[in-house]
């Protein structure tokens, strides 16, 4: 029955039309939009390469952000999970991931024509960008494929078996991330053709990882201590450092997604910074008003939420839109983390769903509200600029992502659980993942 679910759902989602060609991944190259003579631009190329390095830094940044939030017996466990993803996904991407996600083909996946980067050369590939080497685009995208599964770690932190984590990550990247990236960004991806606006990955990265986080938190269950006593962050300064690195790297994530060193990149840079600032401030003020004090943890959570929310919108909205997106995402995530989670009773340890899921959904919908062609002529107008249809298209993209990510993540996680078990035994959980999974500890007491 489960095997039937994926194709059945796809047919439902697409009305049975978009996937007619699913079974012919090897059919020739998709028709490419005619672009005037592809020629490498040195400015564009250096910006995309620098951006790739910036986005790479986000994964260690995330590691410290999450690492500071767990108890100290689990900090290496979290750092290790993030860093090993950097290794595993980098390989998955060059071997077959890039081909599945971005290879030409109108189907469920892009196919395997670009296996081992065969045909992904040093000349531009105009279907994605006509001014940078194809491999520059590929490595930029590789960093997105690295950080997305790393975001999910926040949900099952402090209790997942390392072996199961590795298998889950590889399966998830292949069966959830790669197809979604193909639909949204790939040549002739059906969501892209529908006109859904997602500048830097609000759906593919944040909603996708956020929903996966919710699913994994539900399936793996609460930490044993969850209902008994609180688990305060063991090193908030680490988390602040991590959040700062995320903010820094996000300039590459969003402004780099312009794939050019141009005005659009500058716009993305400005609105990214603006939304992060607005959200950090709004969460701090909400903390102050409702919890008595403006907290460091609240402020950095707000900053990350703001960065998440502006991601899909960065190339389509101006500063005004960015401020509203930032202020409101602070509010929405504050509610989801502070109240909703406790009401619903799931243990999303580090609020991967609360911040990335909720923030991502708001960001994608807000893009349909605040987008304007005055920022990006190649984009579209949103509801507030006279085009209510865009909001509907955004909704389709969001709903598709939620449904697909929820069902397929659930299946993968359940299968991994059945085969080797996703959760460490209770005693290992009590001793901590550092010693039980890696036989190391982060901090010594003497010397």
């Amino acid at each position: 029955m489960r095997k039937m679910l994926i194709p059945m759902m796809l047919i439902l989602l697409t009305g049975g039309t978009a996937f007619c060609e699913t079974v012919s991944p090897m059919s020739g190259m998709a028709p490419v939009v005619a672009t005037p003579s592809p020629k490498i631009d040195t400015g564009d190329t250096s910006w995309v390469l620098i951006s790739s390095a910036l986005v790479m830094l986000m994964t260690p940044g995330l590691a410290f952000f999450y690492g500071g939030l767990v108890r100290r017996k689990n900090v290496l466990g979290v750092l290790m999970q993030c860093l090993i993803i950097l290794a595993v996904m980098s390989l998955q991407w060059v071997i077959f991931g890039y081909s599945l996600a971005f290879g030409p083909g109108k189907g469920f996946w892009g196919g395997l024509q670009w296996f081992m980067l065969h045909g992904v050369g040093l000349e531009p590939y105009p279907g994605y960008s006509s001014t940078i080497p194809h491999q520059a685009f590929m490595i930029f995208q590789a960093m997105f494929a690295v950080i997305t599964p790393a975001l999910i770690i926040g949900a099952f932190a402090e209790r997942m078996k390392f072996s199961a984590f590795l298998i889950f990550t590889l399966l998830w990247a292949t069966f959830v991330y790669d197809p979604l990236a193909h639909w949204v960004w790939g040549i002739d991806g059906w969501l892209r053709n529908l006109g859904a606006l997602d500048f830097a990955g609000g759906t593919v990265v944040h909603i996708n990882a956020g929903i996966a986080a919710l699913v994994t938190a539900l399936v793996i269950g609460k930490r044993t201590c969850y209902d008994k006593y609180p688990t305060p962050p063991h090193n908030l300064p680490f988390s602040v450092l991590g959040a700062a690195l995320l903010w820094f790297g996000w300039f590459g994530f969003n402004a780099g997604s312009a794939l050019s060193a141009n005005g659009l990149a500058a716009n993305a840079f400005v609105v990214t910074n603006t939304a992060a600032a607005a959200a950090a401030l709004s969460w701090a003020l909400l903390d102050w008003r409702f919890n008595g004090n403006p907290t460091m943890l609240g402020t950095i959570s707000g900053a990350v939420a703001g960065l998440v929310a502006i991601t899909p919108a960065a190339g389509f909205v101006g500063v005004g839109g960015a401020i509203i997106i930032g202020l409101l995402v602070g509010l929405f995530c504050f509610i989801s983390v502070g109240f909703l989670k406790h009401k619903l009773g799931y243990d999303d340890s580090l609020d991967a769903f609360g911040v990335h899921g909720i923030g991502g959904i708001w960001g994608a919908m807000a893009t349909g509200l605040f987008a304007t062609k005055s920022v990006n002529a190649a984009g579209a107008d949103g509801l507030f600029f006279g085009n209510p249809r865009q909001l509907w298209i955004q909704f389709i993209a969001v709903a598709t992502t939620i449904v697909y990510a929820f069902i397929v993540t659930w299946i993968i996680y359940k299968v991994v659980d059945k085969v080797i078990g996703v959760r460490v035994v209770e005693k290992d959980e009590a001793i901590g993942l550092d010693l039980t999974q890696h036989n190391e500890r982060a901090y010594t007491m003497l010397e």
Binding site: C225, K228, Y229, A430, I431, N439, L446
Partner: protein
């Protein structure tokens, strides 16, 4: 009056605290300590280099109690800390000469509770 000193596994601290509250023993001091029992403990590996027999991390509790609370306290600690494996720790009970509450200068049993 006795001073009860218990050395326990760090990961059992929460259970021990829970049991102590149940036994209405609410005043404890907790320390993190390093120590050596008979067990070799968890072996750590650094870049392939194995270390055994190093000092192990433990938690030490200090609880001052009136005589009628000695047994309940010991039972609570055992209940919370016992796993049945090597390294569960020890409890020491030592006589206590005096106890003074600084805030009021009260002495003896009065000052303990």
């Amino acid at each position: 009056m006795k001073l009860i000193i218990a050395i326990i596994q760090p990961h059992r601290l929460e259970q021990v605290k829970e049991e102590l509250y149940k036994a209405e023993v609410n005043l404890i001091t907790v320390n993190e300590v390093l120590g050596h029992g008979r067990q070799k403990g968890v072996t750590e590996v650094y870049r392939g280099f194995k270390e055994t027999g190093n000092l192990l991390r433990k938690v030490r509790l200090e609880i001052a109690v009136n005589d009628n609370f000695v047994e309940p306290t010991i039972k609570a600690i055992i209940k919370g800390a016992q796993t049945g494996e090597m390294g569960d720790g020890k409890i020491f009970v030592v006589p206590m000469e005096e106890c003074i509450r600084i805030r009021t200068a009260e002495k003896g049993s009065l000052a303990i509770g």
